[in-house]
């Protein structure tokens, strides 16, 4: 999922500097260009930093004339990829509506003026709406509708590599906290993979993620997820009966 991505890739020099800036001197309009460049780096290197992106959205909130809809769209896509973390909502909280509309109208007018035609202008406004619709589908686990809409909006989403895999990871997360055993058709619809590709996918997870399969009488394949505290009540109970260490240390002198 989203947050784990920064730990998997080695930190670039730029990301190190920007992270420093964000933690030491975040309320500084001069770092805006660095943060914008960092968004583009996150896109190209398939990393993610919610702190840096929130910092940028904050600066845009303070100086609305400097807001770039293109950068914001990228941040929103990256935030979608971070699900189940609520990053997408966190971003929306920071984007003033008034500016959104004004900004988009201005850009729309500018584009028309440059003679590039209506369609591109409309795309600007559609971008934010589309992303919100996509988020809505993911939040309400409507995966089939999500993948349909995503296919129609490929031109918006393909600028960010890794999008599909990230959403598939989210889908699997939701399935694995809901199901102990899930029918193949439900899995297929959730991750938008079918047939031989799906077979390969399942095999990969059997080897690496502890999945297993069994045959269901008439419906075909059942995929079994490893048990976790969310889909297995037994595991949850043992977590709740834990005793904090400080309490034990109180009685150690007595026992000893």
């Amino acid at each position: 999922m989203g947050r784990e991505m920064t730990n998997q890739k080695p930190q670039s020099e730029m990301s190190y500097t920007v992270e420093q800036l964000v933690s030491v001197n975040p309320y500084n309009p001069d770092i805006l260009p660095d943060l914008e460049n960092y968004v583009n780096e996150q896109v190209s290197s398939q990393t993610y930093s919610s702190n840096a992106n929130l910092c940028l959205l904050r600066l845009y909130q303070f100086e609305t004339e400097r807001m770039s809809t293109q950068i914001v769209a990228r941040i929103l896509i990256k935030a979608l990829m971070a699900m189940p973390a609520p990053d997408f909502s966190l971003c929306l909280f920071l984007i003033p509506e008034r500016v959104q509309i004004l900004k988009m109208r201005t850009e729309w007018v500018l584009v028309l003026w440059k003679g590039r035609g209506m369609t591109i202008g409309m795309q600007m406004e559609d971008q934010f709406k589309t992303l919100i619709v996509l988020s809505h589908y993911l939040e309400t686990a409507r995966f089939r509708q999500f993948w349909d809409e995503a296919a129609k909006s490929r031109h918006i989403l393909e600028v960010v590599p890794g999008f599909e895999q990230a959403i598939q990871a989210y889908a699997i997360h939701v399935l694995s906290i809901t199901y102990q055993k899930v029918p193949r058709s439900v899995l297929a619809e959730a991750i938008n993979i079918e047939g031989l590709v799906l077979d390969k996918f399942i095999e990969h997870h059997i080897t690496n993620s502890g999945w297993s399969i069994e045959k269901n009488q008439n419906k075909g394949q059942l995929i079994i997820f490893p048990h976790n505290e969310f889909n297995d009540p037994e595991l949850k109970k043992s977590a709740a009966d834990g005793i904090p260490l400080e309490n034990i240390t109180r009685i150690l002198p007595i026992l000893g």
Binding site: R98, E139, A141, K181, K219, D232, I243
Partner: protein
């Protein structure tokens, strides 16, 4: 609000405008500043606190009910024209003005200047005073409040006069959001409060144990201001809608323990109110419920002791707001077992009806969510200045409307969950097909709803870990839904420990008897 008062003099509004003489210093004020000045020099924190809390209030009530205190120039002669004392006096002066009267634009700007000067003195580390925590908290709290008030004021463009706009353009640095955030951040950094709190955990520093006071002859001002500034940052970030960063700012403070933040009730309430609200917006429902529950119990037990204090009104107001937030949170995530009996009965009294209606998720329910959220939410602000160009419209409600809209959007997404809850509370196992027919949806839709339930009732904490907020738990096995009975887990470990300690106590008692 700013009215017709001239902009270059500190004149109040109302009938006393004609009778206010900034240079007239009644004897009680003279005596007040002289004694206050002496106590500050001699570091008599208790006396300073008495004068600050009680004397200031009673003199205000007697002489300055709706007029400002004498100007700082008039009192300066009684205190050796001490620069720092004058800054402190002006701080109180402006706070009194904001509380009793409406500040003019010029006054707002002057107050900003005063805070800048005061903070700069503190940041340079040349301050050698010990001030009561109450006062230091009030400084930070008032600073953020005046910032919020300024943003609201600035956003009401419709009736602004030419002069006001000109003044706003000229003094664009006053209450600038960068300035406010950077001062708070600077106080946190310069005081090294985060490192102090870290080292305290390892026993290398004393801070909480002394309530932040310095008993080795130094000053508590920078450290405590730095500490309270973390709460100030939490508040400002909530006002901007940045809940994630707000919670990050408060991370060095362990809210599961007592601390300097609990030494002043205003700070305690502000911290938990914003902490709870931020968690609510981040869907960390159980965390929000726990903290609201704790603070509401605390207020219930201690509010009687604050009846005479000037903060009493505020305490009651925040109490009511947190009940409303708790009602909202519990309607989204009915974890009633987390709520203590006293709080629960108060909650039922205030919002029992409304909570039942909110859980129906019909049109009326949304109106109630809207009502309670609007009543209880922080006064969100738009941090950017407008372009001051025609047409002049009021945009002071924009920030609030955005947060409300997004909140209701979230509620809407959870609309179908209450139906599920009803059935899950009745069955221990039920097939997808049957449940779908009861809920009058097709099987695919039902699977979607069940997954939404799971997703919405799990939140991600600041470390990326998944936390369950599930009230009624379940899992699906192919096409069967298995409901997990949520029994309160038997705390065997706890029970054994208590018995061990008890036995030890009895044994040692018996031993003592033998010796005698």
């Amino acid at each position: 609000m700013t009215g017709a008062a001239p902009y270059d003099s500190d004149q109040p509004h109302g009938d006393s405008a004609s009778s206010y003489d900034p240079n007239y210093v009644p004897d009680s004020v003279k005596s007040f500043v002289v004694h206050m000045y002496r106590h500050i020099r001699e570091k008599n924190v208790y006396e300073i606190h008495q004068m600050y809390e009680t004397s200031f209030q009673s003199i205000s009530d007697r002489f300055f009910k709706d007029a400002p205190w004498p100007s700082v120039d008039a009192v300066a002669t009684y205190v050796d024209n001490d620069h720092v004392f004058c800054l402190l006096y002006r701080e109180m002066w402006f706070r009194h003005l904001y509380a009793r009267l409406s500040p003019t634009l010029k006054q707002r700007i002057d107050s900003w200047d005063n805070y800048c000067n005061l903070f700069q003195v503190v940041l340079h580390g040349v301050v050698n005073m010990q001030l009561p925590n109450q006062w230091l908290w009030d400084m930070v709290d008032e600073f953020v409040y005046q910032f919020q008030s300024f943003c609201q004021y600035r956003a009401k463009m419709k009736n602004k006069t030419e002069q006001e706009i000109a003044l706003l353009r000229q003094y664009d640095q006053a209450w600038n959001v960068y300035g406010v955030l950077n001062y708070l951040q600077a106080l946190v950094e310069k005081s090294s409060i985060i490192q102090i709190l870290e080292q305290e955990k390892e026993g290398l520093e004393q801070f909480t144990a002394t309530d932040g006071y310095d008993y080795s002859g130094g000053s508590n001002v920078l450290k405590v201001l730095g500490y309270f500034s973390m709460v100030g940052l939490l508040r400002v970030h909530c006002l901007l809608g940045d809940y994630h960063t707000g919670l990050k700012c408060i991370l060095p403070i362990d809210i599961s323990q007592q601390g300097v933040y609990t030494s002043v009730i205003g700070s305690h309430i502000t911290t938990i109110y914003h902490y709870g609200f931020a968690n609510l917006m981040l869907r960390r429902y159980t965390e929000a419920i726990r903290e609201f529950n704790k603070i509401l119990i605390y207020i219930f037990k201690t509010k009687q002791y604050h009846q005479k204090s000037p903060q009493y009104e505020q305490i009651l107001k925040k109490n009511e707001q947190m009940y409303a937030l708790l009602a909202v949170t519990l309607s989204l995530c009915p974890q009633l077992k987390l709520v203590e009996e006293t709080v629960n009965s108060q909650l039922r009294e205030k919002y029992g009806e409304k909570m039942l209606r909110m859980q129906r998720y019909d049109d009326e329910a949304f109106a109630l969510y809207d009502e309670l959220f609007s009543y209880a939410c922080p006064k969100f602000i738009t941090p950017s200045a407008s372009s001051y160009e025609e047409p002049l419209v009021n945009y002071n409600q924009d920030a609030y409307r955005l947060q409300l809209k997004l909140f209701l959007y979230e509620v809407k997404q959870q609309q179908l969950l209450s139906g599920i809850r009803t059935f899950l509370n009745v069955y221990s196992t039920i097939s997808i097909a049957k449940l779908a027919s009861y809920m009058e949806v097709d099987e695919d839709t039902l699977r979607t709803i069940l997954m939404t339930y799971k997703h919405k009732m799990h939140s991600v904490d600041s470390d990326g870990k998944i936390i369950s907020n599930m009230d009624t738990n379940f899992y699906i096995d192919d096409d069967m839904v298995h409901v997990v009975e949520s029994k309160a887990p038997k705390k065997y470990g706890d029970y054994f420990m208590r018995q061990i300690v008890k036995l030890e106590g009895i044994t040692s008692d018996i031993d003592r008897v033998k010796l005698e």
